[in-house]
Symmetry: C2
């Protein structure tokens, strides 16, 4: 039996994976740089950002952001120590308390947003909406395929 031959799209897909790793790493390091002054790391602002609009429990943050439940728990503990978030009883679930930003947390979120807006504006300046949307769409589509396998 012959060795299966790798199709052309498959080769490019592998390239895409490696590029994703690099891009992801770059985003994290740039993100860390941007928010260093706020005393936040990527894992922290990912969690803080996740409850910007609606307070949700840890497990849901994990699901939304593609993080592990335990990782979110850890980050949440740190954010609590920093006084940026707190627990709030969840009427719908006795165990799964909501994570909500404190007053201080809201201030940091506002600063975060300011930084993010300036930065994202300047980075995305030369890109069209469609170009970026296409990337997101393809990633999501690929993700679906990955889940199925």
């Amino acid at each position: 039996m012959d060795i299966n031959k790798q199709t052309q799209p498959a080769k490019i897909f592998i390239e895409l994976i490696l590029e994703t790793f690099r891009f992801n790493g770059l985003l994290i390091s740039v993100g860390d740089g941007l928010t260093k002054e706020l005393g936040l790391t990527s894992s922290l602002w990912q969690v803080l950002g996740a409850i910007r609009e609606t307070p949700i429990p840890m497990a849901q943050i994990a699901r939304n952001m593609g993080l592990s439940r335990q990782g979110v728990r850890r980050s949440t503990n740190i954010l609590i120590d920093k006084g940026l978030v707190q627990f709030k009883e969840n009427p719908d679930h006795k165990r799964a308390r909501l994570i909500v930003p404190t007053e201080e947390g809201r201030k940091v979120l506002a600063q975060l947003e300011k930084i993010q807006v300036d930065w994202s504006n300047s980075v995305s300046k030369e890109f069209s909406e469609n170009q970026l949307k296409n990337v997101i769409h393809t990633m999501r589509f690929l993700s679906e395929k990955l889940y199925l396998l």
Copy 2:
């Protein structure tokens, strides 16, 4: 002065970042699943894969793959313990020895490649070459912008 308003591409760019985090996490977990039987984790096969064609020193692996030098060192040590790679004197650089696969390492690389070919073929089946290339291109373009800032 008004708060800077976030442009539409900027908003989508932020979405793209979050999607990248999720996609990256998914790739790692799927990759770990695929290569579990070989006793390799993502960080390990990233390093092993990097020297598939040409043996290079640790620092170069790190640069190519967007990993930290120290992380690569760690992975390399593990791969050496597992007997999959070894050092080889580098005529061009006394300090920076080349990392080369052992006989056993080459076997694992072959298995890895087999798995990778089957998997990438099946995932990328419904994607056009161009669609994937566009994603890579956009990521690289974004990366350039990120470096400049």
